[in-house]
């Protein structure tokens, strides 16, 4: 074996080991509990078979040739999976450029950079495919159990679309670097990842609302209009669906296509990938210039803190992409709200839990960024300001930001139904306060850039935050439909919060 091949195989092993450890750290929150993580994963996968059966079980008996409606539903599902993989792949590519501390070491090594980055591109594709296989396993298992071994071909489709998603992600990211430069690519790539992941579902929901007055995506996919618009059964568009059903020839063509696409991307972009990485690492940047020079403003100490937090939130790439995503998710309910002015749709009730849920989720992220994600913790701690006032200023920032984002929706709702608007406003307030309180009880000292790891630093806080958001969203929805039931869900959610507080590090 030549030394260059040996170096490449060593590098491939290194990449796989890094990916495995990153994944393990995500699962275990940096604690070395490999066995626990694997057992947890197996248990989770086993449990996931139940919802998978509920969602997909009825499709197990599908046999080729399929009618157009079935082809459309399966193809749309595969397209959704592809969009999610693309989103994850774009995120992985930007992470390789910006977050890997080993670029200097790699680029100073005597191995060809084009080869090194080919391995890294392959590693990205592998990690995307591995994650997709993991998530799709319960669904494919249900199909195999219910419909026979021919459904194993669905795993092949996952691999094929994973290869193409990784290839497209790399091409898009490198193109972004070329077009808008390293400084802006990170933010834009994160926004694209968020939009791509959510956009497809939201577009279907919007079409469903506009055409059928429902949030159900299947209403569009199974409609006569979609069937009439769709291409012939022999079209290449249906190849993924046919391959998933067990058409071996089509599956091989898809796999070959995916491999060729990734190979072409490697050939074209691995050298540019290296060049781009050099540009990023040399991006001891003439950073973002703030053209407007403002004079120092007189303010109280808390105002200074609040102003700083608002500026940082406004400039936070994660927050921009997440807010955009939350707002995207709010487009369908907002559209439904708009439709309700012209009709008497009872589906408008659905708007409330969506808004309350979104407010709770966004508050949790905002609260982590402001309370735990303090980059200059020493500075704030040595300021002549009691810690309680620092915390209060930060909580105020979270609540004000949530108010600014959600007030327009609540006001719009007030025109359709004042009672629903009042309940939604109350739900948003309680949901946001609960999520903020959980972040406060579980606060840690961290850098804002560690945001991705926030959900692994405390599993308890993550679950409590999710249960609280879901609980208050359900309570708000039930308050409109069955008030007595709302009292029960409200009490359960409050009890969850009380239990969370009782076992939180700030209480113990």
């Amino acid at each position: 074996m030549s030394s260059s091949t040996a170096a490449l195989s060593w590098f491939a092993r290194h990449e796989i080991r890094l990916a495995w450890r990153e994944w393990l750290a995500m699962m275990t929150g940096r604690r070395k509990r490999k066995r626990g993580a694997i057992i947890g994963l197996i248990v989770f996968a086993a449990i996931m078979h139940l919802p998978a059966y509920a969602v997909i079980g009825r499709f197990a008996d599908l046999q080729a040739p399929l009618d157009k409606s079935s082809l459309i539903v399966i193809t749309a599902t595969i397209l959704l999976a592809w969009a999610l993989m693309l989103s994850q792949a774009i995120e992985s590519v930007t992470r390789v450029f910006y977050a890997r501390a080993d670029l200097d070491l790699i680029m100073s090594s005597p191995v060809s950079l084009a080869n090194i980055f080919s391995v890294r591109i392959a590693a990205i594709a592998l990690s995307v495919i591995a994650m997709a296989l993991l998530l799709s396993t319960p669904f494919v298992d249900v199909l195999v159990i219910g419909g026979g071994v021919r459904w194993f071909a669905a795993y092949g489709v996952v691999v094929a679309i994973g290869l193409s998603a990784a290839a497209v992600a790399i091409a898009v990211t490198v193109a972004l670097f070329r077009l808008i430069g390293p400084g802006r690519t990170r933010l834009v790539a994160q926004i694209i990842a968020a939009i791509v992941g959510a956009g497809f579902v939201i577009a279907l929901q919007i079409a469903a609302i506009l055409s059928y007055g429902t949030l159900s995506r299947f209403a569009v996919l199974t409609s006569d209009a979609a069937a009439a618009f769709a291409p012939d059964a022999a079209s290449m568009v249906w190849w993924p669906a046919r391959a998933a059903l067990g058409d071996g020839e089509t599956l091989l063509l898809l796999l070959a296509g995916g491999l060729v696409l990734l190979g072409a991307v490697m050939a074209i972009f691995s050298a540019r990938f290296a060049d781009t990485a050099v540009r990023v690492s040399a991006h001891a940047t003439p950073g973002h210039q703030n053209a407007r020079a403002k004079s120092f403003r007189a303010s109280s100490r808390q105002q200074a803190l609040r102003r700083k937090e608002f500026v940082l939130l406004r400039r936070d790439p994660w927050l921009v992409s997440q807010t955009l995503m939350q707002l995207l998710y709010l487009v369908p309910p907002a559209l439904m709200l708009w439709r309700s002015f012209s009709g008497s749709s009872t589906a408008i009730v659905l708007v409330t839990p969506v808004i309350v849920m979104a407010a709770g989720q966004l508050s949790g992220g905002l609260a982590w960024l402001t309370i735990s994600g303090e980059d200059a913790a020493d500075l704030v701690a040595t300021a002549p300001l009691p810690p309680a006032r620092v915390i209060r200023a930060k909580i105020e920032v979270v609540l004000i930001a949530i108010g600014i984002i959600f007030a327009p929706l609540v006001i719009a709702l007030a025109f359709a139904s004042p009672l629903q608007a009042a309940i939604t406003a109350l739900g948003v307030a309680i949901g946001s306060i609960s999520a903020t309180a959980i972040q406060l009880w579980f606060r840690v000292q961290a850098k804002r850039s560690q945001f991705r790891r926030r959900q692994t630093s405390s599993r308890l806080a993550t679950f409590a935050e999710a249960f609280s958001s879901i609980g208050w969203a359900a309570t708000a929805a039930l308050a409109l439909a069955i008030p007595a039931a709302a009292a029960i869900t409200g009490l359960i959610t409050a009890a969850i919060l009380a239990a969370t507080w009782k076992i939180s590090p700030r209480r113990v």
């Binding site: 991006h283 001891a284 940047t285 003439p286 950073g287 973002h288 210039q289 703030n290 053209a291 020079a293 004079s295 120092f296 403003r297 007189a298 303010s299 109280s300 100490r301 105002q303 200074a304 803190l305 102003r307 700083k308 500026v311 940082l312 400039r315 936070d316 980059d375 200059a376 913790a377 020493d378 500075l379 704030v380 701690a381 040595t382 300021a383 002549p384 300001l385 009691p386 804002r448």
Partner: protein, 252 residues
């Protein structure tokens, strides 16, 4: 309760902190007003822990800390108002410009913008950051970040400046700028306490030097006094330091 002497910028008595092991062991330390005091010691000796307790970042297990007559444990806000802390790892906000950072610090210390704004400009210019005043700090080198952090520490005109390895990561020109700035402050009546591993800096800049080992002050004085204690008038600070640490290690 013992009251602070008017001439003491810092008076520490019986300061104790235990983590897994005893980090600071009933430490007594007095730094006079207007003095440049260098605190030396090997890695893990307790220098940073001591200074973090003085700056109000850590709560001591026992002991007292008085900053210019203010009891820092019972009235931390009053003590913090006149103190500045700069750590070896500059903590600034990537998404703020140096000017925005200094505006934030001045606001946090309640300084009138009419005073803080010209002072901020002057500080940043004197540290060679003029071309980067309106550039976000995210692309700054470690040295540039350290200079921004230092400017932040000085913008509220503290009377006691505590610096933990402030010259780490600075190039020779920047280090000279920083040293000059600190000496100016001392000449203006400010007190500086600095930890450093660069013994030459302590030798050239410090009025008095304290050597800390295993959480205790093992030697203190001017360079001449330390030489006298060591019994060799021509010994370098480095030789004395190593000898002191060896003695302590042997005693332990």
């Amino acid at each position: 309760m013992q009251t602070a002497e008017p001439l003491s910028a810092l008076q520490v008595r019986g300061l104790t902190k235990r983590f897994d092991r005893l980090a600071v062991d009933a430490l007594d330390l007095t730094v006079r007003t207007g003095e440049f005091y260098a605190l030396l010691g090997p890695n893990g000796a307790g220098k940073t822990t001591t200074l973090r307790m003085v700056a109000g970042l850590l709560r001591p297990d026992a002991g007292s800390v008085s900053v210019l007559g203010v009891d820092a444990l019972s009235d931390p806000s009053a003590a913090k108002q006149i103190t500045a802390w700069v750590s070896d790892e500059p903590m600034i906000y990537d998404k703020l410009t140096p000017l925005e950072y200094l505006e934030f610090v001045a606001g946090l210390w309640g300084i009138d913008p009419a005073v803080s704004e010209p002072s901020a400009h002057q500080l940043l210019i004197s540290l060679g950051l003029e071309p980067h005043l309106r550039e976000r700090c995210e692309g700054f080198s470690k040295g540039m970040r350290q200079k921004v952090a230092l400017a932040g520490a000085l913008v509220h005109d503290p009377r006691l400046i505590i610096l933990d390895e402030p010259l780490t990561g600075l190039d020779a020109v920047s280090a000279r700028h920083v040293k000059g700035l600190l000496q100016q402050r001392v000449q203006g009546g400010c007190t500086v306490i600095m930890t450093t591993h660069i013994l030459e800096v302590a030798e050239r800049m410090a009025d008095r030097i304290g050597v800390i080992a295993a959480g205790r002050l093992v030697a203190e004085g001017t360079l001449a006094e330390l030489r006298q204690q060591n019994g060799h008038n021509d010994t370098s600070l480095e030789d004395m330091f190593i000898a002191l640490i060896d003695v302590e290690a042997a005693a332990a």
